[in-house]
């Protein structure tokens, strides 16, 4: 049982070829037996009748009216076919006349037009004057494009806002004031021509990026992606927004086997999160904190470089050590989370480290190492960028040299008399915000004859927690939750009079983790506090970084450079809105 349905579009002229095409498309739809699409002239109506396509009770149509008829198996199929008309008639949206190649000469005058006309261009380069840059970048982001923001004089508030919006949409903003990047082998801005390879770079410094990339190239290795973040990305306000996205991208980019992270001295509270993200990549990451002494040489999969050149050298060396087949290098035992590259089940950002040291230099070294790993950090050691600790009660992460004058007035040094340290351990253990207590144990002639014995009881009490004595919490798994962790670095030799092995054993029996190096102690902390990575709201699409095409707004020079690299690029002939008239600009801004 077939049914005939029709639609009349009055005064809708279309060329006969268009009509024939529509007719053929409709006839191919499921459940449609036949279709007719004609201007309703008398001759055409007769033709329809001959094809059993003339609707009954058709009146009031004339030669200017477009008549669309379908004969279908059912009413539903007929209705569904008629509902498809607009889609079938719509032009192919692929080409709007300026695809960036071929005969196209038209240069769009506005970003909007370029965006509409170049859906394949996933990147927008923005190099307009700073006061307009955020507006242009925002428009690009809202059109779902990544932004290379060369412009400077973008306010930090604008930067934060742009990056927030981009992150939520799974887009990257490189910059502002980003001078260089290499994405999918294409140099953006000022970029060296480097060979493709397996080293990914994330850099807050343009010249830093160029130095490292050039050096890597000179050493015979190559670059997978080099991502600029803008110089303020690791500030407290911006909080490493771009860096974190870039690290996440390089972590799952199969072409990247080693990562170099180049930073200007970061805000301490940001550094911890960034290093956590670097660890979470589970790939070797060479970290160069330009202008700052590295906190330590190595921390699980992180290597700290002294210089840019050193970073490049190390990266190439590590690349040589990497298996070429696999993109995920197995993490070293106990170092990094195995279950997920996103977060360590053990690491979390709750609770604090409290270091109670008897040796001043040990405390100093620990403080310096933890400076970029945990925040907020305080100490009584006068380290740059680390807050002064309160003597009475610890706040946040705190490292104390208990041998300092303020603690030893009127009492013996803690290497001899541990009374003060015992009381402080108890005090910290009873502070619910304490998660880890760090101690040193210095052996040797002149030191206490059994320092471990002195501390064992208070350590055990701290580890077991306040509920342990009542028997209410006997389960071993939950003890950890109620008490704190204690880690001790033991400094001494097996010839020392205190019996090194016996000291270590006493501490371990009390529940402490024991290390023979300061580095071991720092890693213990890092394992717990550096590694928790909050998942990104939306991930970057790897294919957007593979083979790129761009829209360029601003310096024509950048267009020419991309064209010379044979990259598809549409140049927008941008001019300041309203000819720079601020009053009109303000009105336009309000109008949306």
């Amino acid at each position: 049982m077939s049914t005939i349905a029709h639609e009349i579009r009055r005064g809708a002229y279309a060329d006969s070829i268009v009509l024939m095409q529509l007719q053929s498309s409709l006839a191919q739809l499921e459940g449609v037996d036949d279709a007719g699409v004609v201007m309703a002239t008398e001759v055409n109506l007769e033709l329809l009748a001959a094809s059993r396509l003339l609707p009954e009770a058709l009146s009031g149509v004339g030669p200017d009216d477009l008549l669309i008829v379908v004969r279908a198996e059912s009413d539903d199929a007929a209705a569904a076919a008629l509902a498809e008309i607009d889609r079938l008639m719509s032009r192919d949206a692929g080409s709007l006349g300026f695809s960036g190649s071929g005969t196209a000469a038209f240069r769009p005058k506005s970003l909007r037009t370029a965006l509409d006309g170049s859906p394949q261009a996933r990147w927008v380069l923005v190099s307009v004057p700073g006061r307009y840059a955020a507006q242009v970048a925002r428009e690009a982001i809202r059109a779902d494009r990544h932004v290379f923001l060369y412009s400077d004089n973008v306010t930090i508030d604008q930067e934060v806002e742009l990056k927030r919006e981009a992150r939520e949409r799974g887009l990257l903003v490189m910059g502002p004031d980003c001078g260089t990047a290499t994405i999918g082998g294409v140099g953006l801005g000022f970029a060296n021509r480097v060979q493709p390879g397996a080293i990914g770079i994330v850099a807050a410094s343009g010249t830093g990026l160029q130095s490292v990339a050039s050096r890597i190239d000179a050493l015979g290795a190559g670059i997978s992606q080099a991502i600029g973040t803008g110089g303020r990305d690791l500030s407290q306000a911006v909080a490493g927004a771009t860096t974190l996205q870039a690290l996440d991208l390089l972590a799952y980019d199969p072409a990247t086997r080693v990562i170099v992270l180049i930073s200007k001295p970061p805000a301490p509270e940001v550094a911890a999160g960034v290093l956590a993200a670097a660890r979470a990549t589970r790939k070797p990451v060479v970290v160069s904190l330009s202008g700052t002494a590295p906190p330590l040489e190595k921390l699980s999969n992180l290597w700290f470089a002294q210089s840019l050149e050193g970073a490049a050298d190390r990266a190439v060396e590590l690349l040589g050590l990497q298996p070429t087949a696999s993109h995920v290098s197995p993490a070293q035992p106990g170092d990094a989370p195995k279950d997920s590259p996103k977060a360590s089940p053990r690491a979390s950002n709750t609770g604090f480290v409290r270091g109670l040291f008897s040796g001043g230099t040990v405390a100093l070294e620990v403080t310096q190492a933890l400076r970029f790993l945990v925040a907020p950090l305080a100490s009584n050691l006068g380290v740059d960028g680390v807050a002064d600790a309160s003597i009475e009660a610890s706040i946040g992460h705190t490292i104390l040299d208990l041998g300092a004058d303020e603690f030893t007035v009127g009492r013996p040094h803690p290497m001899i008399d541990s009374d003060l340290r015992q009381r402080r351990i108890s005090q910290e253990a009873s502070d619910p915000s304490t998660r880890v207590i760090l101690l040193d144990l210095v052996l040797g002639d002149g030191a206490h004859p059994n320092p471990a014995g002195e501390l064992a009881q208070v350590i055990r009490a701290a580890v077991e927690g306040p509920g342990a004595g009542s028997g209410a919490r006997s389960d071993a798994g939950s003890c950890e939750r109620s008490g704190v962790e204690v880690a001790v670095v033991v400094i001494g030799t097996d010839k020392d009079p205190q019996n090194l092995d016996g000291q270590v054993e006493q501490l371990q029996q009390a529940g402490a983790a024991v290390f023979r190096t300061i580095g071991g102690l720092v890693e213990f902390v890092a394992d717990r506090f550096v590694g928790a990575v909050s998942p990104l709201p939306s991930r970057l699409e790897l294919e957007d970084f593979d083979s790129i095409s761009c829209i360029n707004v601003g310096l024509e020079h950048f267009h020419d450079s991309l064209a010379a690299q044979e990259v598809g690029v549409v140049h927008v002939e941008w001019r300041p809105p309203a000819g720079g008239n601020e009053r009109l600009q303000a009105i336009l801004a309000k109008m949306g």
Partner: protein, 414 residues
């Protein structure tokens, strides 16, 4: 309602309007304002003192045509004395090319927008040479007008009615696929127009010589359809006028002295500034020095999304934009920058049948500093010499800025 929502409504009304040429009538019968001693003219309001040569010439000619004066001198005296009222065509649903002077007893095409019911009018096209719309008023000019009014008009009127009206939107859509852009090139459209009417003219009771003359006149004049096209564009643009909050232009017009625009959401106000001299090609013996400032209501075509906006459809006249077909494409592509929508009926083959750029948005014009393109004829600055060339002109940016400031004030945007 924000501007975008308002503009969406404006554009839907403009594109959804279906202008049907219904008949020909005497102007005073269908335009109440012409029941008095009054002349309609192209462009924004203007008084005699500021009128340019061609407009004054057309006023003199119309005054003679109406019999309000017996010679040119008397007509000029009458017109300058204040005894004749002047009002823009646009205030009365009408449009006219060049001087656009429309007088009470002239025949006018009547367009009805079947979707929204509004009417629009335009006088009959006189063809080339010495014509009233360029300010000529010699006896042969007036003789031709009388022939058009008294002989051709009634025959064409009967033909239009017998045809059941002509869908000008459909005619334009087809003409755009035949190399017209609807403003400077109406060759295909005029032939379609003549062809559609010819069978009904053939059935007219007039004698064979007259029927032949009418068909020949319509067919020979490549601008025959311009006037109904302009009225159709007026009907479409008017359908989009008066949408609260809309920033789209619903009229662009020039009176030979000023260029003016109206905006959908800004009531009946005109925003005006001195009209420019078109850049273009001149007939032999003439140069830019002979050109009058831009004149005519024919910019209603660009307002409605055709004319220079559909330049890409008319490669035959790319000489106006320098001669290369790519420039014709670029001209249209540039207009997408400042328009709010794309026409669903007027499509452009070389742009993959993309809809023509429609609905000039004053926000985009001001923001980008890109003014609408206008294809236009060029009038001699002295009355009665006629057309001296054709070319391209753009309205002054100031009128769009004025409109934006007025919008800010009216809608309280500081």
């Amino acid at each position: 309602m924000n501007a975008n929502q308002a503009n969406q409504q404006t554009i839907e009304r403009m594109i959804g309007a279906r202008p049907i040429l219904k008949t020909i009538a005497q102007a005073s019968e269908v335009i109440p304002a012409l029941r008095e001693r009054r002349l309609l003219h192209a462009g924004p309001p203007i008084e005699w003192d500021r009128m340019s040569g061609p407009l004054r010439g057309a006023v003199i000619g119309a005054t003679l045509f109406e019999g309000w004066a017996t010679d040119a001198e008397a007509a000029e005296e009458l017109a300058s004395s204040g005894a004749i009222d002047f009002e823009p065509c646009h205030h009365h649903g009408a449009v006219g090319p060049m001087a656009g002077v429309t007088s009470p007893s002239m025949a006018v095409y009547v367009i009805e927008n079947q979707t929204h019911g509004n009417l629009a009018f335009s006088n009959l096209n006189e063809g080339y040479g010495k014509v009233l719309r360029y300010g000529a008023y010699a006896p042969e000019v007036l003789d031709k007008l009388r022939w058009m009014n008294d002989e051709m008009g009634p025959i064409v009127k009967v033909a239009i009615e017998a045809a059941g009206g002509l869908d000008i939107r459909a005619l334009l859509a087809e003409a755009l696929h035949m190399g017209d852009e609807g403003h400077n090139r109406n060759k295909a459209g005029s032939l379609l127009f003549a062809k559609l009417l010819a069978p009904y003219i053939a059935e007219s009771s007039a004698d064979a010589a007259t029927r032949r003359k009418v068909v020949e006149f319509l067919g020979d004049n490549a601008l025959s359809v311009l006037n109904p096209v302009m009225a159709a564009c007026k009907a479409m643009a008017d359908a989009g006028h008066g949408v609260e909050g809309s920033t789209l232009v619903t009229a662009m017009a020039r009176n030979g002295t000023d260029f003016g625009i109206r905006v959908s959401g800004l009531g009946t106000d005109w925003f005006t500034a001195p009209a420019g001299i078109p850049e273009g090609l001149y007939f032999s013996g003439f140069s830019a020095a002979d050109a009058n400032p831009d004149i005519g209501d024919s910019t209603i075509t660009e307002t409605a999304g055709i004319g220079a906006f559909a330049m890409a459809a008319a490669p035959a006249i790319v000489q106006f934009v320098s001669g290369k077909p790519q420039d014709a494409l670029d001209a249209t592509l540039e207009m997408y920058e400042i328009t709010f929508g794309e026409h669903s009926h007027f499509t452009i083959p070389p742009l993959d049948f993309r809809g023509s750029p429609t609905g000039i948005d004053i926000r985009r014009v001001v923001e980008l500093g890109i003014t609408p393109r206008v294809n236009t004829g060029i009038a001699h600055r002295e009355a009665g010499v006629g057309q001296v060339g054709a070319g391209l002109v753009r309205p002054p940016i100031e009128i769009f800025e004025q409109a934006l400031l007025a919008y800010a004030e009216r809608y309280d945007l500081g």
